[in-house]
């Protein structure tokens, strides 16, 4: 256990260090302290970008873990149940009609995500004997709906300027992260993560089936909604800054479960850290490509095979 925690901490540190020094503009350790240009690049671009990747990935990983645990389904992460696409619709709506204030985009993304969450849960509640798969099926349906809404928004957009900015934003990227991005992401992530950590006991009670939890005195519906809304807030705050980043929220908890198997606060935090490390590495890779490809390209390239391997292992057991 200790060795594993050390491994994760070391990996995290490594990812942060690499992320601070990889990029178009070469930085050296001495330069940061002596050369004003390097210093400026470091403080205004590289450091914020690294922080956003770390905390954004952390938030996505946590949210994925909370969703999967509450729904008793390893696939039910925010992107699969449609919450991420709901957030993108909300954000695109804000870009088009409400201007580009960061706060407005975050709020609009959150509303879009919550709306989709309502729809998904409503659809899955229609089926009487709902099994574990229902929530995923409902999510796929709602995801398709959200994509349609997004297409409608794109048609509405001015092809010269807005369409491009929506498209670009949808690809998901940390290219535009600067010092001014931090205040709209970090406080939300820190606050909501701390809340979820403090409320972890309530996540645990929801790992039981509903009747059992109710008879232990849990208000199952209210608790579930409360926790899901907090996790959704995490997703929306990340997406409104970075655009769509796929796979992290699905994958992080699975990676963390390689190290800790049972539900406890360590697994909860590890899911977040795994998300942070994944996003940091993916973002480093995008910076190494000439065109700075969207970060989702790399999270998918890393994520898809990793997920297959993990699922294969699970079946093997």
């Amino acid at each position: 256990m200790k060795a594993r925690s050390f491994l994760i901490a070391a990996l995290c540190l490594l990812a942060v260090t690499i992320s601070l020094f990889v990029g178009k503009y070469p930085l050296t350790l001495e330069g940061i302290f002596s050369d004003p240009v390097q210093q400026s690049v470091f403080l205004r671009l590289r450091l914020p970008r690294t922080l956003v990747a770390l905390f954004g990935g952390f938030a996505l990983g946590l949210a994925g873990y909370v969703f999967q645990t509450i729904f008793h389904n390893d696939l039910a992460s925010p992107d699969v149940v449609g919450v991420s696409s709901g957030a993108s619709v909300g954000a695109a709506f804000a870009i088009l009609f409400l201007g580009s204030s960061a706060l407005l985009i975050t709020c609009s993304a959150f509303l879009g995500a919550v709306l989709v969450l309502f729809l998904t849960l409503f659809l899955s509640s229609l089926q009487k004997n709902r099994g574990k798969a229902t929530i995923v099926l409902a999510g796929i349906a709602v995801h398709a709906l959200a994509q349609t809404a997004l297409t409608a928004l794109k048609l509405e957009a001015d092809p010269e300027r807005e369409l491009a900015s929506i498209e670009y934003w949808l690809m998901g990227s940390l290219n535009d992260v600067t010092l001014t991005t931090l205040p709209s992401l970090l406080p939300v992530v820190l606050l909501v993560s701390a809340l979820l950590f403090a409320l972890y006991r309530h996540v645990l009670v929801l790992t039981l089936d509903d009747t059992e939890a109710t008879l232990l005195g849990a208000r199952v519906k209210g608790t579930r909604w409360g926790l899901l809304l907090l996790a959704t807030l995490l997703v929306a705050s990340v997406i409104s800054v970075t655009g769509l980043v796929s796979f992290i929220s699905l994958l992080a908890a699975h990676v963390a479960k390689l190290l800790v198997r049972r539900h406890n606060r360590t697994l909860f935090l590890l899911s977040g850290l795994a998300g942070g490390i994944l996003l940091l590495f993916a973002d480093c890779l995008t910076r190494l490509t000439a065109a700075e490809l969207p970060v989702s390209v790399f999270t998918s390239i890393l994520g898809a095979p990793a997920l297959l391997v993990l699922l294969g292992r699970k079946q093997h057991e």
């Binding site: 403090a198 409320l199 006991r201 009747t211 008879l215 005195g217 849990a218």
Partner: protein, 256 residues
Amino acid sequence: MNKLLQITDLSCAYRPDRPILKGVSLLIERGEIVGLLGLNGSGKTTLFRCILGTLPYKGSVLFEGNPLGKNASKAIGYIPQGTSVPSLSVLDFVLLAFYDELPLFASPTKEQKERAKAMLEEVGIAYAEEDCASLSGGERQLALLARTFLRPCPLLVLDEPDASLDARNKKRVLGLLKRKIKEENRAALLSLHDLTFALNYCDRLLLLKDGMIYADFSPKDTPLEEMERILSVYGKMKIGMLHGEKDLFAVAAEDV
């Protein structure tokens, strides 16, 4: 009077034209272990769900003279059928017993942890840090019992606690249940399939048949032939006594 649970004329149907329970009445007092018998599909689990308030029903269910409403969690400890457990440490799993005693943001206290560990020791589970999901069926039942006994609820409802347990584990689970119920003056209502265990461990047996309580008897005070007649819904059988230090019931199917 120690009337704990009084059910009067309870009816329940999943579909209006197919009633499952048609006027069930029963009474459970403190200190009693009451076994609920009945063939598969006779409505045992349905009756439990009505008592727990998770199914709508007609009739009255009174707990210490009052309708349960939202207080079911304070009154009833429930052990569901099948016992699939999540991946938690056994200690965390058992600590969920204190879930509603703590404020929103609090974690279990030291004292609660000590109580949980002591209870685990008492039920005979030595590994509080193990993963619950890796426990055997019998140990899961014991962990569930430990969690339930940490709650203050006077009535325990157990849905087939003997399912898929071997004889040794059945003895462990039912023996523990019996001892704790008597010691703490609680009561238990449990559905059982194993007639030998039902006759030997329960103070009273109820047989659910055609949606009604077909028989309500105490094995110790009922003639063997009478019990054979009542329990013939399971097929023809012979019930005998084994006389030793403690008299025990023995059941054998007749048409083997």
